[in-house]
């Protein structure tokens, strides 16, 4: 078994830079969203297509990033 059609790109979500990775494993598509800085995984999703998996990942990433409080320094 191999990972196929691996793709990675940066997108802005809720003011944060997110690294979005997606690929196909067998018949299933997988997506993963990381915050670019510091590089922590936010979520991992699956779907019937790349678009489906990525959409779920971005939605979940947005929910998580929305909770991040910015404090006054």
């Amino acid at each position: 078994m191999k990972i196929e059609e691996h793709q990675e790109r940066k997108v802005a979500v809720d003011g944060w830079e997110v690294n979005l990775t997606s690929y196909r494993l067998g018949a299933e598509w997988h997506a993963k969203a990381d915050n670019v800085s510091p590089g922590a995984t936010l979520c991992r999703t699956t779907g019937a297509s790349r678009e489906d998996a990525e959409e779920k990942a971005l939605k979940r990433a947005e929910e998580l990033l929305d909770r991040t409080k910015r404090h006054t320094v």
Binding site: W16, L25, A40, T41, H71
Partner: protein, 283 residues
């Protein structure tokens, strides 16, 4: 181009492809996201969960010597096994596992350069099988605490500049703008950094493909912040795994003698009553 000080501490994905299932080699995946292994992993690899198998689950601590021996034995690892560790997030918790293996004296432990990310992006074979590891009899050495920093050492380093403090978190965590990586729960009462620390985010030591940057570039990166191996170095982050990555870079790639990982990190310092905190950018 200068070589790493200890090139034997790294293996390439191709090396793992060639040798991953050799009888004297054990490949272990250690991820931040402990579900990643089940999705797909390097064929023949087993998994360790950082939050249940690489720490004491009752008190906050790394594994005891006995716990480490039990983990290694159950994983079929003997004293002469080549232990190859890799994981997600550019080997954050793989480096954490490497650090503990060195604390307990395992001789031949290596990181797979580029980690899970590089293996997947190269389109290499993956598996969903969980291999059975025949139990071994493992005896660890007493903990080498010269690799680990505790709070009193960090307090002294901050107050007396007896060691250089390297904060490897994101710039926004360093300044205090956010209290945890964006999207993750806040785990401290105060934001900012340990007074005197230099901000050198761990990711600056990595290439886009997850591999470590060349030795010359790493030396320049840390050197311009005054981290050149001439005095002890203490690396810290939030819970100690990102700083394990930097600890590995400084100790094994650049060869600095006296480097410790402060695994108490910001979740200890940022919750400590009365601890001095600096906010804003490094001066």
């Amino acid at each position: 181009m200068a070589e790493y000080a200890h090139p034997e501490a790294l293996v390439s994905t191709e090396w793992v492809n060639q040798h991953g299932v050799d009888p004297k080699v054990r490949v272990v995946e250690v991820d931040v996201d402990t579900k990643a292994y089940n999705e797909a992993h390097v064929p023949g690899a087993i998994a360790w969960a950082w939050n249940t198998q690489l720490c004491d689950t009752v008190r906050r601590d790394i594994l005891s010597q006995q716990q480490f021996e039990a983990l290694m034995s159950a994983s079929g690892i003997a004293a002469d096994t080549t232990l190859v560790i890799y994981g997600d997030n550019n080997n954050w918790f793989a480096a954490w596992a490497f650090w503990q293996a060195k604390i307990y004296g395992h001789k031949d432990v290596r990181l797979m350069n580029g980690g899970r990310k590089k293996w997947l992006s190269e389109g290499r074979d993956v598996s969903t099988d969980t291999p059975h590891a025949a139990a071994a009899e493992y005896r660890a050495q007493a903990a080498d605490l010269s690799l680990r920093a505790f709070l009193p050492q960090v307090q002294e380093a901050s107050a007396r500049h007896s060691a250089a403090l390297v904060d490897v978190r994101s710039p926004q965590e360093f300044t205090g703008e956010i209290l945890a990586p964006a999207g993750l729960p806040e785990t401290c009462q105060r934001g900012g950094h340990i007074p005197g620390a230099r901000s050198i985010p761990w990711g600056r030591a990595a290439n886009d493909d997850g591999t470590f940057r060349p030795a010359d570039e790493l030396r320049a990166l840390y050197g311009k912040e005054g981290i050149d191996g001439s005095k002890p170095v203490i690396a810290y982050c939030r819970i100690g795994e990102r700083s394990s990555h930097t600890w590995f870079v400084l100790k094994y790639l650049l060869g600095f003698d006296n480097v410790t990982n402060y695994d108490g990190s910001w979740t200890e310092w940022g919750n400590l009553v009365g601890a001095p905190v600096e906010r804003g950018a490094a001066v």
